[in-house]
Symmetry: C2
Subunit: 766 residues, 2 copies
């Protein structure tokens, strides 16, 4: 008999058919009798004072029920990370001034979307334009336009850390090199657009159906910005058509729908457009990564100095995290004993940046893996070997003090090398063809408590039903990645029942215990452990009774396949259903409800000491590309994506993440770019924003490397975000291998290839 | 300081404004994209074989999506009380034959209500009419048409019980008399019509929004009739516009919407009409009550023999209960040591009878109180005195073995007598004016488990939030009586917080622990205790931590007014919010969730032994009427309604129940009658069905008598159903006092008064 009966199997989600047939209800599918429709008026200026807003004409338009501006709010600033008050820098509706094209100025509720749209044009806003700045380097210079009063040199958040003896290490290095890498802003491109339906009722309670990834976080932000109590709000996340980080932050749709509902006493629905999605939602931080590293002759990297300049746009949003998070991979993927890390999150008058799958690690690992290849070449070392030499090993402790209990990086590299036939092909490919490697490590959930809350990071309850099934209440938020299914598998395994015996109720802040949501690849680890503990608590209530009935020791009992029995003696036992009924009978009908929670090991956000995450995933992707020297067109032929996700709770879902990540990384590497000029996004449509489709996909070989991690539920680690990190460096390194062109700026578009070719002669490597 | 800070106060419900402003959503307010509309085809014959159903023409009508008949069902019979299999006698859609005008034959789902309605006319049903019977006396005679194969003499359920020595007691009685009383069928007249919205989705799960009083019971009935598992169904009761018993049973709207949704794969909504409500919903059982009693000269009733013949109509529905339930008041209100009880629930081809507020006790107590007055008159005893002499006292045990822990009947009688100035007025009123008394006792929840389920009768969970508030999950079903508010008050009192600190999530079988619903006046006692226990469990988790922090004994702590402190030393304590945060901190973030349940003392349904209910309410109503001898019109001038509800959790809500009960009892006594000829209801409209309005209401003096009962939460007992019982006897006794006409058949309409006056000379009493 295998160890697990549900975990480790590629089982479909119970609700897959609903998504396939269109029966699943998304936020925009909900409606309430008497509902109004809202639209948001945004600034056309990148930086301007608001002198006056005259909404009289708009108010007179028949069908307009309410117009709100900053004056209608309680004037409280919000942000994402409560630990640093200065990063609470954004008004839900602009009050004093606007700081980017898209800054929310007013919102309208009307009896139809058309009327609301028409009303926007009738609102007269008097602005005084201010000088603006769009480049973070410029923004940090003396005399640059000041975007926020509190921010010296427009620096929103700064992090400096040093480990080991960096100066000494550089002095002692055999080889030192410096490079600078530049990444572009990109959009998340979720298939579902933003939507919010708010219903503030006469009892003083606000219910919000929202396209959020983090109902509890949104709940907290609504409390703050609306001045409501926790118990006055209910946030519901219906089915969600993709969340890649943007939706972890409160959206203007959420806030404006809520405030309009409060002011009108009617339900109000606001649905975003694709143009708004591209132009005004949170984008991935564009970063400049300066990286200086020193190495020994044998390829051992002894020291690295990172200097990261990140463009947060007009507000900080998740900017604090974007600067902190790379500390994890920078210290984790490779074992570099001496490290200097400087991160600058800088304001500009651009679209606001925010969390996006991998949250600033794709940017930084693009630098790491590109530079590693450059060092390897200079030292004459095989790119795989230099990685194997420096690769993190299990049972090591990072310079941050983070204990690495499991690490499959070496296995990933070896497996990918083998599958790609690296040994035979490396150096022997035809002109225009090349191979490259990208690697990664990623946190399985961040051990940060952004709220300073006393509640656990994740909690769950499991209620057993008379028919032998269970209802799981979890705050975790399925954003399309299938976490409801994964959590159901964990509950089923722990209880010893089948997957379809578990009903999941999730992501409703009124009904489900606190869980901070879907970000930092935390759900399987954090919510998974909470669910496992809740299921174990429920099961133990049964085991106590069953042990007495069977005259056995609790420890000798096993729950599996809808039965509870004495281990090794399946005939001495009873059905799971009978166990529930017996337990209820013994307990006079007390329902069997299990509780569980999970709190990670402590991490000090201010000093960066401790376990930044309970466990880390590792991975290496090998790409093979072909570059057309005439057109500059790059074709990615195949990618072998090896990923150590610990125990794969559901292998097909891990493969789905790997394939999806390749798609996203492919766009990031080669085509996607929110082209922004003077703060305006010039390509806010699917026509102009080049997003890889199924036809653009290379052959993907997904390799799941299972390094059991003791912190994870059944040994599982993350496999949702980190998986996107190695794609771009693998492709860019392969381009170099194919063309001799070292591209340090993303995306690597055909025109850049052609331009670079003109600049210098091809210099093939190996 | 008073004993309680929340309980005992007339506090408004948090959601009162929603009801007042129309924002509360009722079942018919819900809609789902792509929803179809359903209509039900019913039999026009009272008794007929179905030879064939041809729905071809109807199916061809554009917009018709599905037509279902009995052949589309799994052909399982259902009923209300699972203990007696023969009372599972009804197909959800008729298969073999129809048994009353209204029996469900087919249902249609179409894209609009109009099309569904039109399709009904196109369904061709070929019947073979059968002889029918409409009077239960006739139905029991040999040779009567056989309505169900299993039922000998059309007797659906029979109950015979004898306590003491009845024959001896009759032989030894100083005075014996026999009477027969007849009551009519009446409708519940809820303001909200039946509605059901079913959504069976591709994952195999059925969600049903229903106008049910008992989501869990409906859940069970859907499992049975649709062949689904418990975990495949979710029943949600939204706001409900009145439930008086009819909605405790599965309706055809529920079943047909569910099956049509299963068959079409679309959401289906069915809304009933007022005509359907009057003609085809469950009505109150019409009963003939034969009552023979023996008394001593001093008015002590020594023996009673009840023989009850009840017309259940075409199916048993709650008929088993309707025959069992009167055992409680018959043995409880008065202390009659020798008792014979014979109950016959008889099939006819009439509309089906079911539970209705007081569930067969108004019928039986009409007999008891009428006959008591007759005996008092014969023996020359004051009607109050004869009641006081025989009245139940606390700490007595009934012949059933039920222990009566609290009884305020004597106090009720004395208080009403005083308020009505009975001493001065009795016997001294002018011709045409009269006074009369009705009394009652009623179960605070029936200790019957209809399912044979191992789960408790009621369970609840309480989750504490960071802002010092609590979310209560209870399966209890607020049907307009305000039980959500009552349960919130109980939770608030137990936790020591304010009423508006409690959010209630109720009556959703997926989210809330099992609770059997709103019937038998059980909610305050059963769900109330479960909620109190759950709140206590949550509070105790706080007290453990607070005790350590304060270095105090847990037992010395008190929770009140949002604080937890050492009793008598309020300054030594902390806020409730701080206690939650401290507890979460100590418990590493584990959410504070309390669990509670309630199971009543055991009652054997088959032998009738034990505590039929954990506690009993008592009451006496005194009515004063004036009868116009020219027109026969009876005007009820005033009613003093004294009711022992134990501790009144919310006095104004108890008064609301008393006033509402007077309205309902008034209609029952004087005007309401579902006039039925050959199985057809002739007055299915508000125009023809005479329902008392606000203008018809007498002056009501509500008197709350609080006899603390140890079984109740904070000493509370029922005050929802029993309150309707004494109205009719009080009025009818007053009519006799006014006119000398002893009316033994309800309703007492003017034409009956006039007819009776012709029949005999007025004989005024006293």
């Amino acid at each position: 008999m295998t160890k697990y009966s549900v975990v480790g199997k590629s089982l479909p989600r119970t609700d897959d058919p609903l998504r396939a047939t269109g029966r699943a209800l998304f936020a925009s599918d909900y409606s309430i009798p008497g509902m109004l429709f809202g639209k948001i008026l945004r600034s056309h200026y990148p930086h301007a004072k608001i002198l006056n807003i005259d909404s009289e004409k708009a108010e007179r338009l028949s069908g307009v029920k309410k117009i709100i501006t900053g004056k209608d709010t309680i004037g409280v600033k919000y942000g994402f990370v409560g630990l640093f008050p200065q990063t609470f820098d954004e008004f839900a509706l602009a009050i004093d001034k606007v700081r980017y094209i898209g800054d929310e100025v007013a919102a309208v509720a009307a009896t139809s979307e058309d009327i609301a749209e028409e009303a926007l044009d009738l609102i007269e806003v008097e602005y005084e334009e201010l000088p603006a700045v769009f480049d973070p380097i410029e923004a940090m210079k003396p005399g640059a336009p000041k975007i926020h009063d509190h921010a010296q040199n427009n620096i929103s958040f700064m992090l400096e850390r040093e480990f080991g003896n960096v100066d000494k290490a550089f002095r002692e290095a055999d080889y030192v090199r410096e490079d600078e890498f530049v990444t572009q802003p990109v959009d998340h491109v979720p298939l579902e657009l933003h939507a919010a339906l708010a219903n503030y009722d006469d009892s003083g309670k606000l219910t919000l159906w929202s396209t959020t990834q983090s109902p509890y976080y949104l709940h907290k932000q609504l409390e703050l910005t609306l001045g409501l109590k926790e118990s006055q709000i209910r946030v519901i996340k219906p089915y969600l058509g993709g969340g890649f980080g943007d939706r972890v932050d409160m959206s203007s749709y959420d806030f404006c729908a809520a405030l309009l509902s409060i002011k009108t006493g009617k339900p109000v629905k606001i649905m975003g457009t694709r143009e708004e999605e591209f132009s005004f939602s949170r984008r991935r931080h564009p970063m400049r990564v300066y990286l200086k590293s020193g190495a020994k002759r044998d390829g051992t990297i002894s020291v690295s100095h990172f200097r990261i300049i990140s463009d947060t746009g007009a507000y900080n949003s998740t900017g604090v995290l974007a600067i902190n998070i790379p500390l994890a991979p920078v210290t984790t993927t490779y074992n570099i004993p001496n490290l200097k890390y400087e991160g600058f999150q800088v304001y500009s008058n651009n679209q606001v940046s925010g969390a996006m799958r991998g949250h600033s690690v794709p940017q930084v690992h693009f630098a790491i893996d590109s530079q590693l290849d450059l060092i390897a070449e200079e030292l004459g070392i095989d790119p795989v070997e230099i990685r194997l030499k420096n690769a993190r090993k299990e049972r090591e402790t990072t310079v941050l003090g983070t204990k690495i209990a499991s690490c499959g990086l070496t296995r990933c590299l070896n497996r990918s090398r083998e599958i790609m036939d690296w040994g035979n092909k490396w150096g022997n490919l035809k002109e225009g063809k090349g191979m490259g490697i990208g690697t990664m490590s990623f946190a399985s959930g961040a051990s940060f408590n952004f709220f300073g809350s006393t509640s656990s990071f994740s909690a769950a309850t499991v209620r057993l039903l008379d028919d032998g099934t269970a209802t799981l209440l979890t705050g975790a938020s399925d954003i399309g990645q299938g976490s409801d299914g994964t959590l159901a598998q964990i509950a089923a395994e722990e209880l010893g029942v089948h997957l379809n015996d578990i009903r999941v109720v999730s992501a409703d802040t009124e009904l489900t215990p606190v869980d901070y949501g879907s970000y930092s690849s935390r759900v399987t680890m954090f919510a998974g452990n909470a669910v496992k503990n809740a299921a174990a608590d429920a099961k133990n209530q049964l085991l106590e009774v069953v042990a007495k009935k069977l005259e056995a020791n609790i420890d000798d009992l096993e729950a599996r396949d809808r039965k509870i029995y004495v281990k090794g003696t399946p005939e001495k036992g009873m059905s799971f259903t009978d166990a529930i009924l017996a337990t209820q009978t013994v307990n006079k009908g007390m329902p069997v409800i299990g509780k569980g929670f999970y709190d990670p090991p402590p991490f000090n956000f201010v000093t960066s000491e401790g376990d930044i995450s309970p466990a880390f995933s590792f991975g290496s992707y090998f790409a093979e590309v072909e570059v057309d020297r005439e057109t500059g067109i790059i074709e990615v032929k195949c990618i072998t994506a090896a990923h150590d996700c610990g125990k794969a709770i559901n292998p097909i879902r891990v493969e789905g993440q790997l394939e999806g990540s390749v798609q996203m990384g492919l766009g990031y590497a080669l085509s996607e770019h929110s082209v922004t000029v003077k703060g305006m996004v010039l390509n806010p449509s699917f026509l102009d924003y080049k997003f890889p489709t199924a036809l653009d996909m290379p052959k993907v070989t997904s390799v799941i490397v299972e390094e059991y991690d003791p912190a994870g539920p059944f040994g599982a680690k993350e496999s949702g975000e980190g998986t996107t990190i190695p794609v771009a460096p693998a492709i860019v390194n392969a381009i170099y291998n194919a063309t001799g062109l070292r591209m340090k700026e993303l995306p690597v578009t055909p025109d850049k290839i052609l331009k670079a070719m003109k600049g210098k002669k091809s210099k093939r490597r190996c």
